[in-house]
Amino acid sequence: METTQSTAIKDSLLELFKENQQAIQGHSTPLVNRLRKHAIARFRDNGFPETHQENWRFTDLSPLLNTEYSFDFSNRSRNMDTDKIFTCEVYDLDTFSITLLNGWFVYKTAPLTKLPNGTIIGSLAKAMEVYPELIDRFYGKAARIEEYGLASLNTAFAQDGLFIYVPEGVKVEKPIQLINIVNEDKPVFFHPRHLVVAEKDARLTLVHCDHSLTHNISFTNTVMEVFARENAVIDHYKIQNKGRNSALVTSNFFYQDTSSKLTSNIITLNGGFTKNLVDVNIHGTGSRSDHNGLYLVDSNQHVDSQIFIDHRSEACESNQLYKGILDDQARAVFSGKVLVRRMAQQTRANQNNHNILLTDDARTNTQPHLEIYADDVKCSHGATVGQLDPEAMFYMRSRGLGERTARQMMMIAFASEVVQKISIEALRDRIHHLVEKRLKGELSICDQCVLHCNSKEPTSFNIDLSKL
């Protein structure tokens, strides 16, 4: 069953694909283009996810599909100087930084950089021209488009995004930062696509920031594929601070080979509609996969975290810790599934989701889920939904702390369990600071914003996140 809205936008997307096929396929390898055909067929069959599907029961896309979106099939932002419009202060230290504007690579740096150690960083579109053999080895190999409708839509339309390739044995010292900005006057719908490969014994830290510069309506449908080959170590940080009219669906597909180590941290500070999908294929023995999430939402914000960890191999460990604080009428959905297959003996899996609701109107749905077919495993899960402890509140006030201060202290303490998991000290401090600001009501993309959105020329502002 499809609603008329989703059918209408589905039909127009299918039409759009047909009309713009040439432009869309322009820079891609033949393999990627064959995948597109397959993907658009999947999308034709399945359409947009709907609330009768298990993983979308509490997250209704249909209100977002009621908009006339526009699409860009060529890079109009090549030569834009994004420094003029945006400075990301999440991680302004010593990083290799790349900016995407409305899903397109911004050519303020060379479209592709090859570091002396062989690491390749840059635009995915460009990489398809220059390194087709690398693209074909990995592209589409982790994303499960049969399972995920929006990932199939992305696979059909995706043209650009981030490409990182770290060769065997190379440890990239500097974190690589991806800044994803949306800045458009009219409603836009786009499909960024990222491909990250860390070869055997390689090491990589990726900081991925999602921002919007206007309150305009946008729908970002991102797919990221990450490959951690044998003994590779990948730290992935995602920081989301989006406007209330933005919809952001990110499908993260992780593939882990033997003895690899992956840490994923997703921090949602603001966002109108956010869905973070994490799909991990633990393919090689002795691997470890840690997934931490923190969402701080208020007003009518909606955040959905869907995690699927597939233990396919022996002696691996996975941990999930997702925590959230919900104010006003905010809504959070958590569904975490751990599948331990028969051959995945000696698996250790841990899953935790904890929520604090600050009002009676805030709502959360949490569904921890373990599915275990091996017999020698150690798995646990826990989920809580609660309020700030009134006994602790009184205790703090009886020492002279004002009610507001006491509440903030408890919320910051609750959130800091996730922030403490961040292993880079400078980034941890920075994010702790942002979380503190957020919980003190000093960080808001909407309310205390310096962007002056009603102005016709929003591009002349230097955005200092610390002043938001």
Binding site: Y395, R397, G402, T405, M410
Partner: protein
């Protein structure tokens, strides 16, 4: 300093304190003794500002002002301190951060500059020695994973840091071994001055061997049924609560 006049308190319609009067002046130590359920902890909680109780009648004045017009934090900043019978665990909030915030909110209220980091650390070291608290304890989350004795010591440590004018210690001695009890008593005694007052709420007279009270009150069924000097505590220990009950029952003709 503290004047309680004909106080009546109930919780969900059930009377707990049924007409209690008490006066505490600067420099005094009062002990309130009584069996379980007599209203001792309720009295302490009402003075500190716990809002789950209903005050049905009576007045409580502190430094000449009615405390019912003051929020719990305002009472604390004005110098009231409650040592909890069951200190609450607050995961993720370190003792030092908690106390520094508390002290600086109090100082702000009193029109004083906040303590600098160095000043705060110095004060903390000094008070730690006073109550014999382990150094590493203050880096931990408030009361989280503390033993019973550590929690009570931490209450006395907080009291030492906040330097209250009126301290109410609610069964601080319960669950303590004799060494911990001495540490707690020692903390209280070293903070005693002619400008502040202490109310010690206890079930047993044992603590009063170490904290010598000026006055002893027996609280029974929501009323103070007998007051006296230190000797009353000893007599009570010897003869039990039944004795006071019988004696006052006869005296009032009940």
């Amino acid at each position: 300093m503290l004047r309680i006049n004909n106080l009546k308190v109930s919780i969900v319609g059930k009377p707990i304190i049924k007409g209690l009067s008490l006066e505490v002046e600067e420099g005094e130590v009062h002990a309130i003794m009584g069996p379980n359920g007599s209203g001792k902890s309720t009295l302490a909680a009402v003075i500190a500002g716990r809002d789950k109780f209903d005050v049905d009648e009576g007045e409580v004045d502190y430094m000449g002002e009615s405390i019912f017009d003051m929020s719990p934090e305002l009472r604390a900043r004005e110098g009231i301190f409650l040592g909890f019978q069951y200190p609450v665990e607050i995961p993720g909030v370190s003792i030092s951060n908690f106390l520094r915030t508390a002290i600086n909110e109090k100082r702000k209220h009193l029109g004083l500059d906040p303590l600098t980091g160095a000043e705060f650390l110095k004060l903390m070291e000094e008070k730690k020695r006073m109550v014999d608290i382990q150094s590493k304890l203050t880096n931990r989350s408030v009361n989280e994973g503390f033993s019973g004795g550590e929690k009570k010591k931490n209450e006395i440590f907080q009291m030492a840091m906040l330097e209250p004018r009126l301290a109410i210690l609610d069964e601080t001695d319960s669950g303590l071994d004799i060494d911990a009890l001495k540490v707690v008593a020692n903390g209280v005694n070293s903070l005693r001055s002619k400008n502040n007052a202490t109310i010690v709420i206890t079930h047993y007279q044992r603590l009063l061997d170490y904290i010598i009270p000026d006055f002893v009150h027996v609280l029974y069924d929501g009323r103070i049924i007998k007051s006296g000097g230190r000797g009353l505590a000893l007599e009570l220990e010897e003869k039990g609560y039944e004795w006071v009950k019988k004696e006052t029952g006869e005296a009032t003709g009940a």
